[in-house]
């Protein structure tokens, strides 16, 4: 059937054009000399070694990892009780809190960045790992909030009622019935916050202000001062990180469901 072929060609074209720049960056990262050629001239892994041997890159990498790990914990600590409270009691202030949690994604991030900058500086939180982790945790709270809510909605309320009829206290019901069912969604939420925090630029740029450069900020400032293929190898590192994390999420979780798919029957 011709339309089927056309459809497949179209899908492959989209996938191909989305991966094209990434292929070229991967190629450029292998150049032997400090030049930007594609196909690469002479193969070398030295630009990958440089990430781990040059302290400027390594410091940025470690800062980024630390910020992302902490931001994920903070985002979960906010999202889990907020989502649970809304699911348990549908009161207006629970809904209000939920909408505030959705706001960071509905506004241009530069606005959030500027607002945070003006609070973080007087509080002495600017240009520190915990300050940036706090900013990312708040900014990215939307992701685990939405995912944990999806998880809670999938719980059959009769099971919860059964636990309570049998005499379980609310906290016991939460820890033995509800929590185990939401844990996969929490992991997914954490993974999303981690990867996006690693990649986030504008808030890191405002709050870190070059004295604490996360990897994207480091790439940005490096490109201003002069090209080095390490930029390309770091980019490849980011792509690999995303591939690994999201493959794990897909392997151990229901990815279509996490992204909001709803299928009445198996296809």
């Amino acid at each position: 059937m011709i339309p089927r072929v056309a459809r497949n060609v179209f899908c492959w074209l989209v996938v191909l054009s989305l991966s094209l720049p990434l292929f070229i960056v991967a190629g450029v990262s292998l150049n032997q000399k400090k030049l930007m050629f594609f196909p690469p001239r002479g193969l070398s892994m030295r630009w990958y070694e440089e990430i781990f041997t040059k302290s400027a890159w390594l410091d940025s990498l470690l800062a980024s990892l630390g910020i992302a790990a902490l931001a994920g914990v903070l985002a979960l600590s906010i999202a889990l009780p907020a989502a649970y409270f809304l699911w348990r009691y549908r009161v207006f202030y629970a809904k209000l809190l939920f909408s505030i949690g959705l706001m960071p994604f509905a506004l241009p991030p530069v606005i959030t960045a500027l607002g945070m900058l003006m609070l973080w500086v007087p509080l002495g939180l600017a240009a520190s790992v915990h300050g940036l982790a706090l900013a990312h945790g708040i900014f990215l709270v939307t992701l685990p909030l939405v995912m944990i809510s999806l998880g809670l909605e999938s719980i059959d309320r009769e099971i919860v009622e059964a636990a309570e009829t049998m005499g379980a206290s609310p906290s016991r019901t939460f820890s033995t019935v509800i929590l185990p069912m939401v844990v996969p969604y929490m992991f997914a939420g954490y993974a999303f916050v981690f990867v996006i925090s690693m990649n986030e630029f504008i808030i890191s740029f405002f709050i870190g202000q070059f004295s604490l450069a996360t990897l994207p900020v480091k790439i940005f400032s490096q490109l201003r001062s002069g090209y080095t293929p390490t930029i390309a190898s770091v980019s490849v590192l980011f792509i690999l990180l995303a591939v690994v994390v999201f493959s794990l999420v897909a392997r151990f979780g229901d990815l279509p469901r996490l992204l909001g798919a709803w299928t009445p029957k198996e296809r």
Partner: protein
């Protein structure tokens, strides 16, 4: 447990306290500061400082040809990029939602990987792709379509390509849930009644998912308005979008009151568009 019981007393409110405290202190307070500072006075020789005051000076500065130009180019880029990404993204998402489970999950992983990439990395990859030494023009030379390699960055087209690329995975994820909800029986019915696949797509699928398409377009428009790195690297100064002006005022010139006023204005546009999105969403439910 009844679904709509009310929390009574202090203890049931404990899960509410921490999120409310954190979001209140670190998300709402920064906004309050910004609103207040946008009316403050900026001393002649103070970088990154402001004095308490109440003046509209910063808001009045919008009425200059320079800012008007930057606002217009921001809206233009955002509108065109949103349109392009929905045009490509919608058919892709619809087909994707009809994939079997395994290829569907693989495609979603791929989309998420592209989506998570830093704007810095996307802009950088496009500057490589459009460069003379490593870019796609070399491939066209090899094919015989071009006489010699060309550099296509910085420029209007480069910015537009970069923004569309950056938007496309978001477009897919925004439209994906509704696409999966479209019952296959409906399209099968159209096909049984003799409509060609193309006709089915345009007369059944597109109209049914029209509110989703519109929502995605508006969300992407708002989203692209905030682009920062892409226009700065792939464009010339006349292509600089609004976020760059805010950052330039706040970080380079240290004019926090003016940067705040610019942000307020920017937020007003954004919120108006979000309100429009919500209204469209409501109409969708009524249908």
């Amino acid at each position: 447990m009844s679904a709509h019981s009310r929390p009574r007393g202090l203890v049931p409110h404990l899960p509410f306290a921490w999120p409310a405290l954190m979001l209140g202190c670190f998300f709402l307070v920064p906004f309050a500061i910004m609103v207040v500072v946008s009316f403050f006075h900026r001393p002649e020789s103070g970088v990154g400082t402001y004095e308490v005051g109440f003046e509209f000076t910063h808001y009045l500065r919008f009425f200059s040809p320079l800012f008007a130009r930057h606002i217009l180019i921001t809206i233009e880029f955002a509108a065109v990029a949103a349109l392009l990404s929905v045009l490509v993204g919608f058919p892709f998402t619809y087909f994707l939602s009809r994939f079997r489970r395994r290829p569907q999950v693989l495609a979603l992983v791929f989309i998420l990987c592209v989506l998570s990439l830093s704007e810095v990395i996307v802009a950088y990859s496009w500057s490589v792709l459009l460069s003379r030494s490593a870019g796609i023009s070399n491939f066209f030379v090899w094919l015989g379509l071009l006489a010699k390699p060309a550099s296509w960055t910085p420029g209007y087209g480069a910015v537009l390509f970069g923004l569309t690329y950056f938007n496309l995975p978001f477009a897919v994820l925004i439209m994906y849930p509704q696409c999966t909800r479209l019952d296959t029986e409906i399209t099968e019915a159209a096909r049984t009644l003799g409509a060609s696949p193309l006709r089915t797509f345009f007369t059944v699928v597109v109209p049914m998912l029209w509110p989703t398409i519109m929502t995605a377009a508006i969300v992407l428009f708002v989203f692209t308005m905030g682009a920062f790195v892409t226009p700065q690297w792939l464009g010339r100064p006349q292509h600089w979008m609004f976020a760059i002006l805010i950052s330039d005022q706040a970080l380079t010139r240290g004019n926090l009151p003016f940067a705040s006023a610019l942000s307020m204005f920017f937020m007003a546009i954004t919120l108006a568009l979000v309100a429009l999105t919500v209204r469209l969403g409501r109409r969708k439910i009524e249908r």
